[in-house]
């Protein structure tokens, strides 16, 4: 029952009237991703997530916060078509998640940069294009673009082990962008980085989104500050079986910069998300 109420709240929000005309036009399009009453029970009986209802529109930046093991990665795997839900329906780009992924348009960034240690930066970044059978010329041209975007244009020939953790994550992000995705799933991408690097990469991610405001990002983090700084919405999840207990809109317009971190609105939102987590 709680699920139904929540769904109405979420889906209903999409057509509510308190938006600018522009945003209204965008929101009338069909949502990019819809999850209805999703339950995932693993073979060993673990109920990882339960009653998840979500509607994600194009251009959303939705962060998931919640304790470890509450099913955030499980949810991402289902959306990416890496695993199937046990109950409920999942709709990505208006169809089956796995089919949508096969048609391209979904990219994934893991917590660990997940680079091939034997391949240099260029070969790592062009991997998705290589697997898709794109010509070498296209691959290189698009890799240069993607590497420039993350500030690694001078590191084409470097091997992963010659790079710092932050640089490796940049390579991973460049790789995820090279296939021109509509939906970017980032599962704790900055979790292993030090605070300085983390903040730098947050700003770079915001810049990347400014260039392409239609890019939809789903983001997992343990860091409440990070969630508020980056997102247009934050979904708070409960302990296992994971449910979305609260959705908090971060109605602060982009572009956002360092000064956003010091505003009262920011602190207030951080407090709200933190309270949601504590429940």
């Amino acid at each position: 029952m709680a699920g139904t109420v929540l769904r109405e709240a979420l889906v209903g929000r999409a057509s509510s009237g308190d938006r600018s005309p522009q945003e209204n036009a965008a929101s009338q399009e069909a949502p990019l991703v819809v999850l209805r009453d999703v339950v995932k029970t693993y073979a060993n009986g673990t109920v990882a997530v339960s009653d998840v209802n979500l509607s994600i529109r194009e251009g959303d930046f939705l962060s998931f916060v919640g304790p470890s093991g509450c099913g955030k990665s499980t949810l991402f795997r289902i959306i990416a078509g890496l695993g199937r839900q046990s109950e409920g329906t999942v709709d990505v780009f208006g169809g089956d998640p796995e089919r949508s992924r096969k048609q391209g348009g979904v990219s994934y960034v893991f917590q660990d940069a997940t680079l091939m240690p034997w391949a240099n930066v260029l070969d790592n970044v062009t991997l998705p294009l290589k697997l898709a059978g794109e010509s070498r010329r296209d691959r290189i041209a698009r890799a240069e673009e993607a590497l420039a975007l993350v500030g690694l244009a001078d590191y084409r020939k470097a091997l992963p082990r010659q790079l710092s953790g932050g640089m490796r994550m940049r390579v991973s992000i460049a790789r995820s962008l090279i296939s021109k995705p509509r939906l970017l799933l980032m599962d704790e991408p900055f979790g292993a980085l030090d605070e300085m690097t983390r903040q730098t990469l947050q700003d770079e991610l915001l810049k990347i989104r400014e260039r392409d405001p239609r890019l939809t990002v789903l983001f997992v983090t343990h860091n409440v500050f990070e969630a508020v700084y980056l997102s247009s919405r934050v979904a708070v999840m409960s302990v296992r079986p994971g449910r979305i207990t609260e959705e908090i809109a971060i109605d602060v317009p982009y572009p956002r910069g360092e000064d956003f971190r010091t505003t009262p609105v920011f602190s207030e939102l951080v407090r709200r998300v933190g309270r949601g987590l504590a429940h």
Partner: protein
């Protein structure tokens, strides 16, 4: 033995995946591929000599002492040369029969190399086939393990019957003995691909063979290198054992054959010379393979690189 090597390979592998964070060395870190290749090729010998340059004195000293004790001890005792030859006797026997000895070394080296190459080709190929399908692996691999436990000496006569006495039988025996370590190490390597990377390939819709060539085989290289080292040494053992059974008569006999002949004729000094040559051949094989695997892994494997801090 194969288990141990696999564990060692896994250890080496683990070393690279420990997420060691090293600060980027910036432009200096991109010394370019040509520089690195050069380092891997010529660097091998430089490293060998520099490592041995400093550390070589104690073992060399020990060697000299042992040889001296051997020489003068036997002289003092007056032991006849046919029972236990002195180092000088061995050297004389080797130089008196030098062309013959060289021919034997060459023959054995040739057989070992052929057997070794066959074990690489078949070991890797079968491992790839087994790794592509759980079904095939489950139905075939147990037999491979059972076959491996059969002592090679026990089936050598059958191989001689099937392949005829001579080169072919010897090569087959050298191949059989080196085959299993190659197979099992490669198979373990193909199965130990990082799960995240596999997911990534899956997400980007990589086909089975794309995943094999671009991910699983490169990721298995350190394990294969471990298999190469074991198989290389074993193939020398295999060809000498093979010659004991299958022998190559005439002027073309290998070291194993020469050893049997010397033993029959009680040419103990020459027998020693052959035995020492066999050890040297084994060491040469091992070093060559070690150089090869360093070169193979130079682009990415940490344990094959000099650690620069």
């Amino acid at each position: 033995m194969t288990d141990r090597s696999a564990a060692a390979a896994a250890g080496e592998h683990g070393e690279r995946s420990d997420g060691r964070t090293r600060e980027a060395r910036g432009p200096a870190g991109r010394r370019g591929d040509s520089a690195r290749k050069h380092e891997a090729g010529a660097g091998f010998f430089v490293r060998l000599t520099s490592r041995w340059g400093a550390g070589a004195l104690p073992p060399l000293g020990a060697l000299v002492v042992v040889i001296a004790l051997w020489q003068f001890g036997l002289k003092l005792l007056g032991t006849p040369s046919y029972l236990f030859p002195k180092p000088t006797d061995v050297v004389r026997a080797a130089s008196d029969n030098f062309p013959l000895l060289l021919q034997s070394v060459w023959t054995t080296a040739y057989e070992s190399l052929l057997g070794f190459l066959l074990s690489i080709v078949f070991g890797v190929a079968l491992a790839i086939v087994l790794a592509t399908s759980r079904m095939i692996e489950k139905s075939v691999y147990p037999y491979a393990i059972v076959l491996q436990t059969i002592p090679i000496v026990a089936i050598a006569p059958i191989i001689v019957i099937w392949f005829g006495a001579g080169l072919n039988a010897v090569v087959v025996i050298a191949f059989l003995i080196g085959f299993f370590p190659m197979l099992s190490n490669t198979l373990i390597g193909l199965h130990s691909t990082d799960q995240n990377l596999r997911n990534l390939f899956y997400l980007y819709n990589a086909g089975k063979w794309q995943t094999m060539w671009r991910l699983r085989i490169p990721a298995a290289l350190p394990y294969m290198a471990g298999g190469l080292k074991i198989s290389a040494s074993l193939s020398v053992v295999g060809s000498i054992v093979g010659e004991y059974v299958a022998g190559i008569g005439g002027g073309k006999g290998g070291l194993g054959f020469a050893i049997t002949q010397a033993a029959i004729r009680v040419q103990t000094d020459y027998l020693f010379a052959c035995g020492l040559s066999a050890s040297l051949l084994g060491i040469a094989f091992f070093l060559a393979v070690q150089g090869l695997s360093r070169w193979m892994l130079s682009s990415w494997h940490e344990s094959a690189m000099r650690i620069e801090n």
